[in-house]
């Protein structure tokens, strides 16, 4: 627990000192969403129709892009090797890094989402389920993504390989996240969807740090 807190504290400090990290993720999120009106055309009702999907896809991409550096900088300057050689289980180290990733990217995404709802003409009923679904879904994204981020260590390609590994695994979160918003707009309850999202999170919570640690270990060999 001590080690966990020490790593969380260090990584948060790094994120704040380097500044703007979270801001950049939010900016990407906004830009990615904004690209669609350019692409799809600005008719308000088309936009409203695809709003939840676009916002979720942009959140997926933003989370994925920021994941690339989850272990990368520590890997490059030798810190990761050294972290693996400390008397702290590597699973705990991975969990600490995932926590910081969510605090610095998932949380800001949730805060920025309503703004994008406005840009995309999201119907009013949609805001509440969007926020709840994002709150349940983004930690799962960070957890799953950590495995991918660890797998690409030392490979010569970064983001693009990561996206191939991670995006297919993100699809369940996407499906239920969007559907939670859509059913509420359609006048039904989103309870089943939100329960499934919680289930995914509870499943990922023990599994992903374990798989991530295994991946880091092989990346260091």
């Amino acid at each position: 627990m001590n080690g966990f807190l020490a790593i969380v504290r260090r990584d948060l400090r790094l994120a704040f000192r380097q500044g703007l990290d979270s801001l950049m993720v939010v900016a990407f999120f906004v830009i990615a969403v904004v690209l669609f009106p350019f692409g799809v055309g600005p008719q308000p009702n088309t936009l409203a129709r695809i709003a939840p999907g676009v916002i979720w896809v942009a959140a997926l991409l933003a989370s994925m892009l920021s994941l690339e550096r989850l272990f990368q900088t520590d890997y490059e300057d030798g810190s990761l090797e050294l972290l693996a050689l400390q008397p702290v289980a590597l699973e705990i180290t991975v969990m600490a890094k995932v926590t910081v990733h969510w605090l610095t990217t998932g949380l800001p995404l949730i805060v920025a989402a309503p703004l994008l709802g406005v840009l995309m003409n999201l119907p009013e009923d949609g805001y509440m389920p969007l926020m709840i679904a994002l709150t349940l879904g983004t930690p799962t994204l960070s957890l799953i993504g950590a495995i991918g981020a660890a797998l690409i260590l030392g490979s010569r390609r970064g983001g693009i390989l990561l996206s191939l590994l991670v995006l297919p695994l993100y699809i369940p979160v996407l499906i239920f996240g969007v559907s939670a918003v859509d059913v509420v707009i359609g006048g039904f309850s989103a309870k089943p969807q939100l329960l499934i999202l919680s289930g995914l999170l509870v499943g990922a919570l023990p599994l992903c740090p374990w798989a991530g640690a295994a991946a880091v270990r092989q990346g260091l060999e």
């Binding site: 400090r13 790094l14 490059e76 090797e81 050689l85």
Partner: protein, 221 residues
């Protein structure tokens, strides 16, 4: 060829019949060593003979293809965290975060060690020993190659560990710093510590055992 250099059975840290397979080839085979408290082992051999690879095996970063590494007759793979708690490793890279000050960098690594507590004095005295006391509050980004290396060396002085694994530690050091390093190693050994060190330098440590890795080449003609 099957010259095992086996030490007395009192040796604390031993390797027997080690085979290292890396990058698609057998780097060395049948290699053995033994280290008792206070001893130093100098790894010798031309470029590519496997010095770095052996040190990584000793640290537990990667497993030997065959052979055993033991600490008090127990395999180090049985309890990696316990092994981590008793070793310090210096690799090719210097994990110094550019946005943290030198003290913050060292403090992070020290808090992960058992029994460090609040050893601010330990950090300050480690910096002094390497002649960089004046850098305590300077962010890592202002350091030159040699200064970073000194910070990395100060790290292993700040929290005690009985086994030091040093891979060409004198890289980038000027002569004053090299002297400091030699003194630190002598102190460590006087206190019952062990050192394994790779180096191309001609002069050796006092009373060090030499291990010529080239003897164990698997593909020697």
């Amino acid at each position: 060829m099957q010259n095992h250099h086996l030490g007395s059975s009192l040796s604390l840290f031993t390797g027997t019949d080690l085979v290292c397979f890396r990058g698609g080839r057998t780097v060395f085979a049948g290699l053995g060593f033994a280290l008792s408290p206070g001893e130093a082992l100098m790894l010798r051999g031309p470029n590519g003979s496997g010095k770095s690879s052996l040190l990584r095996l000793m640290a537990g970063l990667g497993q030997p293809l065959e052979g055993a590494l033991t600490w008090s007759d127990e395999s180090i793979a049985n309890d990696p965290e316990a092994h981590n708690a008793r070793l310090h490793y210096i690799g090719h890279a210097d994990p110094v975060k550019p946005v943290l000050t030198v003290t913050e960098n060292l403090r992070f690594w020290a808090t992960l060690r058992p029994g460090f507590g609040n050893g601010e004095d330990a950090i300050a005295s480690a910096l002094e020993k390497l002649g960089i006391g004046h850098l305590a509050d300077v962010p890592g980004r202002f350091l030159s190659a040699g200064q970073k290396r000194r910070v990395n060396l100060a790290r292993i002085l700040a929290a005690p560990a009985s086994l030091w694994l040093l891979d060409e530690p004198q890289t980038a050091l000027d002569r004053a710093a090299e002297k400091n390093l030699k003194d630190a190693i002598a102190d460590h050994r006087a206190g019952g510590g062990m050192v394994a060190i790779s180096s191309h330098a001609e002069n050796s440590l006092a009373n060090a055992r030499e291990l010529d890795i080239n003897q164990f080449r698997a593909d020697s003609p």
